[in-house]
Structure formats: C-alpha cells, structure tokens
C-alpha cells in the first residue's frame, strides 16, 4: 500500500464479478421429417462469447417440465448456436431456455414459446429417391405386364450363362461331380438368393443327367434353403428318388475355415465343373485358383466389384454384377422375369442420360461461365444425392 492511500472501510461494497450476457433470439422449431421426438433450438450466442478472449465457458439447455420445474438437457461448448433435443414425446408441448455460463456467473435467456412436437409420416427430403424408385420400379412393372401379354423382348447373350449347359455336359462326360459354392453370406444377402435361383436351374439339369452335385455352405439357413431348392429341382426333373440331403452340407461360418474345407474338397474330389456364385471376400482368388489347378471349368459371378478381377483372371466365365441377378430370368426364359430385365434398362438409360447431361453442363460452365449450366449441373447432382436430415 502506498503512502496516502486509504484502506477500505468496513461496510464498503466488495467488487462483484462482471455479468455475462445471455443468448438472444432463442427459438424452438419442430425438427423436419422425424417421428415427432425431436425439436431444434437456435439462438444468437452471447456477446461475451468471443474466441480466446471471451468469458463464456459454455451453455446449458433447460427444458421446462409439466410441473414447471427446469431440467438440464445438455451442456454445450462456447460457440454453439443450435441444439437438437431428442427423445421427446410425439404431439407434446415443450418449453426451453438456455443459460450462458462463465467462470463465476451465469445468465438465463428468455424462455421459448411453447412448442408442439409433430410427427411426419413421409420424409420429403428423400423426394429424389422416391421419384427414382417410382420411375425404375414402374418401368419394371410395365415391362413385366408387357411380357405377360406375349411381347418378345430382346435380351443380349451372356457368355457365362450360355456355358452352363456345356459345363454340366462336361461333368457328365467325365463322370465327375459338380461343385456349387453359393458365396459366404447368409440368406439376407440378395447375391445368395440369386445364386440359389441359379442352383435350381443347374440342379434340374444335374438330376436329368444323373450326375452328382456337391454343395458345401458356410451358413445354416443357406443349407436349409439349398436343400429345398435341389429337392424341388429333382422332383421337377422326375428324379425324386435320386435326391439326397447330403448333397448340401454345412462346413463352418468361419471364413478361412470354410475356404480350407472347400479347397480340400476340390483337391480330393476333383469336380469337373465349379460354380462360384454369390458374395465372396478375400477367399475368391483362393477358391478360383484351386479350381483352376485341378482343371475344372469354372463359372463365377459376384456383385462385389473388388473380387471381379480375381474371377476374371482365374475363371473361364464370369458373370459381372447385374448378370448374376439376370441369370435366373435368362435361364428360365419366363416372360415376367425377362420383363424385369428390360425394366432395369430404363434405370440404365436414366443413369447414362444424367452422366452425359451432367458432364456437358459442367464442361460448358467451365468454358462459358454461364450461370444456367452451373444451375443445371447442381440440380442434377442434387437429384442423385441422398439427404435424410
């Protein structure tokens, strides 16, 4: 204390911590396209909320309960300007306020007006996906109806499917079995279902030519479904007596345990024809190369782009992506199924048109800088972008 200075006299007021400004313009709105359990709060941050120099340490959101008591809902960091309140009750009324926190003080905002949660039954944010689904689905249904009325539909030749008859014939001549691998996934995978539909056609020919079919599987449900499929095929071929449950056997769910077992079957039993159809992961090349090493004719098909190069390199015929799904329609020749193949061509045409128009729009904009082309390109991009929130 310097000379001449006076000590504070008792009774004088003690300096208090400076007040912190509260948030302003706090509003509550219904969260769009939800099940009526969300609301969104937005506000202008406190004027004391400045990066590095501000005194605000955070915000606390409060909800007013039915009996008027405030309940803390969330603690937010400085700089926050919005918060989504979740797990609310549908068609219920809520009110909120936000407290600005600093080291020593706090400031409460005005309360929001009472807000009702609303449930939306349709998520209109997905309008573009709905439109595309309706167009493609509608086209498929139209072509199915067209095919039912007897109109001939052209389907291009698929080499892998044309070779199935020859492959089965080869097994018949050599007197060796056919090995059918339906992938390593379960019945909830559409590729496994596609493989089983092909199995039905193959098994009918196997029954007709009286050769053996061996099908080791890695999922129990696939074993059950495959047995039903083969049994029906043998009945359709008039050979129910030749069917045996042991044609389909469960190995293991473990990926490389299954691969080891199948490789062993290939090397010991030396099938003349190997079908590798369905979902495959890293084991695709092991199976394909093992099949190649025993001299079997191999027809593979998968919709996993990463595995396609291995099959193309190691197998005699490969069904690429959509050809796997087209196989059952192609082999049966059933008009309704063929109609669905034509319908998906509409989707391809849409994709091609979008690619050409999009590339043209972006290129023309970069050359001319005319706003219309940018608008067109952005609109096309938005059409194929999914935003669920």
């Amino acid at each position: 204390m310097t000379a001449g200075a006076q000590e504070p006299v008792s009774g004088d007021s003690v300096p208090t911590a400076p007040a912190v400004a509260s948030v302003t313009l706090l509003t509550a709105e219904d969260y769009d396209y939800d099940d009526g359990d969300n609301l969104v709060l937005t506000w202008e941050p406190s004027t004391d909320d400045q990066p590095d120099v501000g005194s605000v340490t955070g915000y606390r959101v409060y909800r007013i309960t039915n009996n008027g008591e405030p309940v803390a809902v969330a603690d937010l960091l400085p700089g926050s300007q919005s918060f989504r309140v979740q797990d609310l009750l549908v068609d219920s009324a809520y009110q909120f306020y936000v407290v600005t926190l600093s080291a020593k003080t706090s400031a409460e905002s005005m309360r929001t007006s009472v807000m009702l949660t609303e449930r939306e039954w349709i998520n209109w944010n997905l309008w573009n996906l709905m439109l595309i689904t309706l167009v493609i689905g509608g086209a498929i249904l139209v072509y199915i109806e067209t095919a039912k009325r007897g109109k001939k539909l052209f389907i291009r030749k698929i080499a892998g499917l044309e070779a199935i008859d020859d492959a089965i014939g080869r097994a018949t001549e050599m007197g060796r079995p056919i090995l059918f691998i339906p992938g390593i996934q379960d019945m909830d995978d559409v590729q496994t279902l596609a493989a089983l539909t092909i199995l039905g056609r193959v098994a009918e020919q196997v029954a007709t030519y009286d050769i053996k079919i061996r099908m080791p599987v890695s999922r129990s449900l696939v074993m059950t479904a495959a047995r039903e499929t083969i049994k029906a095929s043998y009945q359709a071929a008039g050979r129910p007596d030749a069917y045996s449950e042991d044609m389909v056997s469960y190995i293991t769910d473990e990926q490389f345990g299954y691969v080891a077992a199948v490789s062993g079957i290939m090397v010991r039993e030396k099938p003349a024809t190997v079908f590798l159809l369905g979902t495959f992961l890293a084991e695709s090349l092991i199976l394909a190369e093992t099949g190649n090493s025993i001299g079997a004719i191999q027809i593979a098909g998968t919709a996993r782009p990463a595995q396609l190069p291995f099959f193309v390199a190691a197998c005699d015929f490969t069904l690429i992506g959509e050809e796997l799904f087209a196989a059952s329609a192609y082999l049966s020749g059933e008009p309704r199924a063929l109609g669905s193949l034509k319908g998906q061509d509409v989707g391809k045409a849409m994709a091609m048109a979008a690619v050409v128009l999009g590339v043209a729009a972006v290129t023309l904009y970069s050359l001319t800088e005319v706003g219309f082309f940018k608008t067109a390109a952005d609109w096309l991009q938005a059409l194929f972008t999914i935003t669920s929130d």
Binding site: I122, I144, R219, A232, S249, A314
Partner: protein, 225 residues
Amino acid sequence: MRREIPLGITIFVGFLAIVSFFSPPLEGLGEDFTLFFDIIAVFAFFLGGGNLVRIHATKLIKRKADWVYSIVTLIGFFGMLAAGLLKVGNPGGIAAPVTAPGSLFSTLYFNLNLPLGATMYALLAFYVASASYRAFRAKNREATVLLVAAFVILLGSTPFGTMLTSWIPHSLDILQIPNMAVWTLSAPNLAGQRAIMIGIGLGVVSMSLRLILGIERTYLGDDRG
C-alpha cells in the same frame, strides 16, 4: 400353404422394408427385421452343427474315405463347444464372458484358429502371382491393354518407376509413370467400377422386385416360379 405362407411373409416384409425407408415412424422396422433374421439364423445353427456332426460321425463309424480327418473335425467341434459352454479356465468361472483373457476358449481361438486363418490368407500372395502370370499375357488387344496398364501401375508404385521418368519436364508430367498410374486408377478404372456398381444397383432392384412380387420363387423350393 407350404409355399403361400413364406411367399406372403416375403411380400409383406419386402414392401414394409421399402416403405419404412421413406417413413420416419417406421424407420426402426428395418433394424427390427434384421434382428429377427439374426435370431432365426442363430436357431438355424443347430441344424448346421447337427448336420456337421452327423456327416463326420457317419464317416468315422463307416470308415469312409479320409475318415481320419473327421476325427480332427469332431474333436475341434466338441472341444470348442465345451470350452465355450462350460467356460473352462475362465477367470470368474461360469459367469465370466466366453472370451475372457486366460480362458481355454480364448487360448484356442487366438493361438490356433487365428494363425490357421492367417495361413490360409497368406496363400493369396502365391495365388496372386500365379493368376497374374496367366492373366497378363498379350494374347489379344484387350489382354495387351491389360498388360500395359498393370505394368504401369506396378512400376508407378516403386521408386524405380519414379526414377525412370523423372527426366520428363513438369509441363508433361502426366507422362511420368507414377502420375500415369494414379490417372489410370482414378479415371478409367474408377469410371469402369462406377459403371459396374450402377448396373449392380439396378440388378439388385430388379431382383428384389421379382422376389417381393413372387415372380422368383426358386429359393423357396418352387421351381415353377
């Protein structure tokens, strides 16, 4: 009825799954159906496991070809089953998790199963070499293009490839091997992959509609679908 009931369930669940994607109140149904499937798949394991034991026990009893390997299979099957069910060696006893460190199950899995799986996985290195040797032959135009592209991409991943074309001036740096490799992967390769994926997506839609509408019924054991 044997076909109609499963078909009816397929149609109902299929349409509900599509609608649930677009309807917020029904969004949780997709996850529920997945859970239902998982529960059914677990019960189905009894069928698969029982089938495995039956086949190998029959092979063993009747001394069929390679019956010795069936002993290995059955010992492995029942050994792991006992270790897991009875929680042999688990610190904390029967109430402890199956995969608790120090348990017999954990020991067998990490010291036996995983190395065996890694061994199978390692075969890929040799199979990639043998498949590449057969695939990269200039038998025709397309094969020659494949060979050249593979050559560029392989070289571009090595320091030797960088060194080979480092003399090319900056204005023509697209001709440097590493840049050619990057361009090959990010332009024509990616375009081809995307085209395949568009086709796959449309194929899945078509196949799914055929399944939902009951046009495709082979998987139900009905060959007249």
